[in-house]
């Protein structure tokens, strides 16, 4: 199950709708092993495509180094689907490399009603999980949140 603050959900949806019809992408970092998404980092989509995304490699290096220095990991890896349902595509599955991450998909096609869904992708297997949206974190954690 993914437990996530409503402000982080809202920020992902806003970013996805702003970038539509180009796929949006990013991560939410959190303390290693915490399973708690805290710091939302929008990533540049180097593919600039309506049906594909790839994190800009230079930005990815900087963000990954920063996470390492802060003892963080990508708790959520998110991207949008601009004309299909919020379910991992074949390439989403083939290219998934973070088994501990929650892979969140935000549909921006109006038919799908912005229903954000979350998945684990491990060894090419997709498991959908529940998304529990909370209105607050513990106060000290909420101060660290970047949405």
């Amino acid at each position: 199950m993914l437990t996530i603050h409503s402000k982080l959900i809202a920020a992902m949806i806003t970013q996805a709708l702003t970038d539509h019809p180009i796929e949006t992408c990013g991560i939410i970092a959190g303390p290693t092993g915490s399973n708690l998404p805290l710091r939302l980092i929008p990533m540049r989509n180097a593919a600039q495509a309506e049906n594909f995304f790839m994190f800009d490699p230079q930005q990815q290096l900087q963000v990954w180094k920063e996470m390492s220095a802060r003892h963080e990991e990508p708790i959520v890896i998110y991207h949008s689907h601009t004309n299909s349902q919020a379910y991992p595509s074949r390439s989403d599955v083939e290219l998934a490399t973070e088994p501990q991450a929650h892979y969140v998909i935000i549909p921006t096609y109006h038919l799908y009603n912005e229903e954000v869904r979350s998945f684990r992708i491990v060894d090419q297997m997709v498991i959908e999980e529940r998304v529990r949206i909370v209105q607050q974190y513990q106060p000290e954690l909420e101060l660290q949140m970047v949405a």
């Binding site: 992408c25 991560i27 990533m43 593919a47 049906n51 594909f52 995304f53 790839m54 994190f55 490699p57 230079q58 990815q60 290096l61 900087q62 990954w64 890896i77 991207h79 991992p88 595509s89 074949r90 390439s91 989403d92 290219l95 998934a96 490399t97 973070e98 088994p99 501990q100």
Partner: protein, 90 residues
């Protein structure tokens, strides 16, 4: 010529769970060949034909080798080679 290589989570099962390994080599390709000797199976995860896999990012210090000489990129003593699988999908 001692080079530090940073290994991503997904490849650590091949490196006895080591995150950083020290390797010798004057080019990125030599580093990968030496890694293959110590950690068999890692090369095919990184290289396709004459270049790095499309969805594997390799950096020397802060520079993506795509914008240098690819696997022929020269290394200097103390350089850090970082391997990061691209985050991508459809």
């Amino acid at each position: 010529m001692s080079i530090t290589v940073i290994i991503p989570t997904i490849l650590r099962p091949l490196t006895n769970e080591q995150k950083r390994i020290d390797m010798e080599g004057a080019k990125v390709s030599e580093i990968i060949d030496h890694m293959e000797q110590q950690y068999p199976g890692i090369k095919e995860k990184l290289v396709a034909g004459e270049s790095a896999h499309r969805f594997i990012n390799i950096y020397v210090n802060d520079n993506d080798i795509r914008f240098q000489d690819g696997l022929a990129t020269n290394l200097r003593d103390g350089d850090i080679v970082t391997i990061l699988p691209a985050v991508a999908g459809g």
